[in-house]
Amino acid sequence: MKFSYYPGCTLKTKGKDLDTYARASAEALGVELAELPEWQCCGAVYPMAKDEIATKLSAVRALANARDLDTELVTLCSACHNVIKQVNNDMKTDADIVLRVNNYLKLDTPYNGETNVLHFLEVLRDRVGFDELKKKVVNPLTGRKIAAYYGCLLLRPSKVMAMDDPENPTILEDFIRAIGAEPVIYAMRNECCGGYVTIENPGEAKRRSNAVLDNAASKGADTVVTACPLCLYNLKKNGGHDDLPVVYFTELLAEALGVK
């Protein structure tokens, strides 16, 4: 099972754990994540304006490269995933954006949204299968109570992300069960932690992230997992719960597979 893999800026720097534990786990699961050559930063926020073209180009370059390599494109960071999947949707559905992007890029073969984009969680669920994953767990996290934090970017807008039910998601909970732990369901799991305003308005980021962790703690979680480096930073720094560790889901995966 071979995929093109887009790590993104943060996974090469402050978010290395998200990347290295995913690579180690993928290897253990027989999944090859081939890093896309010469990828560029996606910009971390999807530009919603239809007349914003330049800000969408780096995502299209990644998508077109994966297409040329005849592979699906796997992402890991929630923000990269959101940006690349939404830009890909534009390239499938918005003729004006398609025309202007292709005029700009002058690719050998124009890009028209051919690449399928998958989050690594979708690879685990839909390609490996959680049942198969469960069979490969050597160190089940029995007795652990883990709260999945989806945040905003993994699920929304749901028509485009099409990964899970945006209000009652299960992919992370099913993942938690597959690695032998017990998922903790709490109301704030798909509400924003305020990470995007951590620079602009730290007070707001504190209030939001504290509300998330208060809720997870009140439901008895011993750990919170996320797929987003900004959520991880914000929840840890501003969440006000030193008693509640926040880790990448890939770290727990690597632990369960015995490759941490």
Partner: protein, 131 residues
């Protein structure tokens, strides 16, 4: 601002974001679900009818446009697919597209860094706040 110039600005905002403000039925669900609503002077549902009434300058001058968390909750949960987040971004972008109006400047960044701050925070802030 003259009436015509203002109308052109509203039209530009609606066209480049593909939002139809007339679909709004004023249910207020966007504001009820907005995690930043209490930090905002004008709430998401107010953005809709203020743009409809052409009050873009008032929105552009309000700190509310910098409080949006870009979490897409209002877009996801709007029962009429009006997508308020697009309008809030539209007003913010209309501001930073004007010369000299960048809300975040590169020289401000070093003071904002800490040891653990992910690149994603800076990249996203530039995309949201600067042109």
């Amino acid at each position: 601002m003259s009436h015509n110039k203002n109308a052109a600005k509203v039209e530009q905002i609606l066209r480049s974001y593909g939002v139809d403000v007339r679909k709004c039925m004023r249910c207020g669900k966007c504001t009820a679900t907005c995690p930043a609503f209490d930090a905002m002077e004008y709430h998401p549902h107010q953005f809709i009818y203020m743009v409809e009434r052409g009050e873009v300058d008032k929105l552009a001058a309000s700190p509310s446009i910098w409080h949006c968390l870009s979490c897409f909750a209002c877009m996801e949960r709007c029962p009429r697919q009006v997508e308020p987040a697009k309008l809030i971004e539209a007003v913010r972008v209309a501001v930073v597209r004007e010369k000299g109006q960048n809300h975040l400047k590169p020289e401000d960044v070093p003071a904002l860094l800490d040891e653990d701050l992910p690149q994603q925070a800076i990249t996203s802030a530039f995309r949201k706040y600067s042109k």
